[in-house]
């Protein structure tokens, strides 16, 4: 496979690949911590999610600088950078959502559904890692990206119910309602960005054939 050859060349390339893998694995850890934090109402653990975003940021910087120090052929660099940036967008959104969680009080009516979305976010994130590994092996990504779309669709379905439910929740003031609304949209939008990232992997994969 051409892609396998391109991606497994020199030391810098291997370093970049290893860091991208580390970046996605860290995202899986962050999503997992987020899910446990919301399930057990563990605010300390939620603060850890914010710390993990900072760690993700430093890995992203390392990857980008390695790429521009000469890893990979120049025509490949923008696509790889874009993919890394998209994964980083997921970290940012997860951090914002964690912050909203710390500010808001999640009503019982939507707690169960929020945990379910958080669980699906862990699943979709792991699937992104699996898709990345499959790309490195030069495999067809069709089944992997379909699985990601299935996760995304399920979260979308829950989102509709959540919005409906949220309309019935009394709020004391504007800010309380806004923070809760931002929390819900952040939680349900993580999968959208992961889907974008998987589309990018598919694009890179196809363009290398």
């Amino acid at each position: 496979m051409l892609l396998k050859k391109i991606l497994s060349q020199g030391k810098k390339e291997r370093e970049v690949i290893e860091n991208i893998r580390r970046h996605i694995k860290l995202l899986c850890t962050a999503c997992g911590a987020f899910k446990i934090a919301i399930e057990t109402n563990n605010r300390d653990l939620m603060l850890n999610v914010i710390d993990l975003e900072r760690e993700g940021d430093s890995i992203r910087r390392e990857i980008i600088s390695n790429i521009y120090e000469g890893a990979f052929l120049p025509y490949l660099r923008p696509d790889l950078c874009k993919f890394v940036e998209i994964v980083d967008d997921v970290f940012d959104l997860l951090k914002d959502t964690a912050s909203h969680y710390l500010d808001a009080e999640i009503p019982d009516q939507i707690q169960g559904e929020c945990v379910k979305v958080a669980l699906l976010n862990v699943g979709i994130c792991e699937m992104l890692l699996i898709t990345f590994e499959a790309m490195l092996e030069g495999k067809d990504l069709r089944e992997k990206t379909l699985a990601i779309r299935i996760y995304e669709k399920r979260i979308d379905d829950i989102k509709l119910g959540l919005i409906k439910e949220a309309r019935e929740i009394p709020t004391r003031n504007f800010w309380e309602g806004k923070i809760l609304s931002d929390f819900m949209s952040g939680l349900t939008m993580i999968s959208d960005i992961i889907e974008d990232a998987s589309d990018y992997l598919q694009m890179i994969n196809v363009s290398m054939r």
């Binding site: 694995k25 899986c28 169960g112 559904e113 379910k116 669980l119 699906l120 699943g123 792991e126 699937m127 890692l129 699996i130 590994e133 089944e143 992997k144 379909l146 699985a147 299935i150 996760y151 399920r154 119910g161």
Partner: protein, 134 residues
């Protein structure tokens, strides 16, 4: 992969003594194809009414849905599976009973519903995961 990951936890209930028209209204409003029918007693003794029941047992027979009670056409008892069951077991039970959705229970309490589409999605995800373990 656990059933809980793929079941729908939002379950809509309706009382057995309400009219079929009420059930139609609720199904159209919520865009769903089935409702759990509340009969007196434990949750596992409830029934289910689906769009299929309504069409074949009432509308196709020109019965006025406002004049017939849900209890007259609902299927009872519920086909329930335990939340610890595997997807393969659930698929087999659905095939045996020829149903498109099945209720998931935990200690005689309804906790979700799993449909054929949910099973299909879960199977595709398992295929995509392969033997990858994070």
């Amino acid at each position: 992969m656990k059933l809980e990951e793929f079941m729908t936890t939002k379950i809509e209930f309706i009382d057995a003594d309400r009219s079929v028209y009420d059930a139609i209204e609720k199904m159209v409003d919520r865009r769903i194809r089935s409702l759990v029918v509340r009969f007196p007693g434990k949750e596992t003794e409830h029934g289910v009414i689906t769009a299929r029941d309504i069409v074949f047992r009432a509308l196709a027979k020109k019965i006025n849905p406002k004049s017939i009670k849900i209890s007259e056409i609902a299927s009872k008892p519920l086909v329930c599976v335990d939340s610890s069951m595997t997807l393969d077991d659930v698929t087999r039970i659905m095939e045996e009973h020829n149903v498109a959705r099945i209720i998931v229970c935990e200690q005689e309490k309804i906790i979700g519903v799993i449909s054929l589409l949910d099973l299909m999605a879960a199977t595709l995800i398992i295929r995509a995961r392969g033997d990858y373990v994070t």
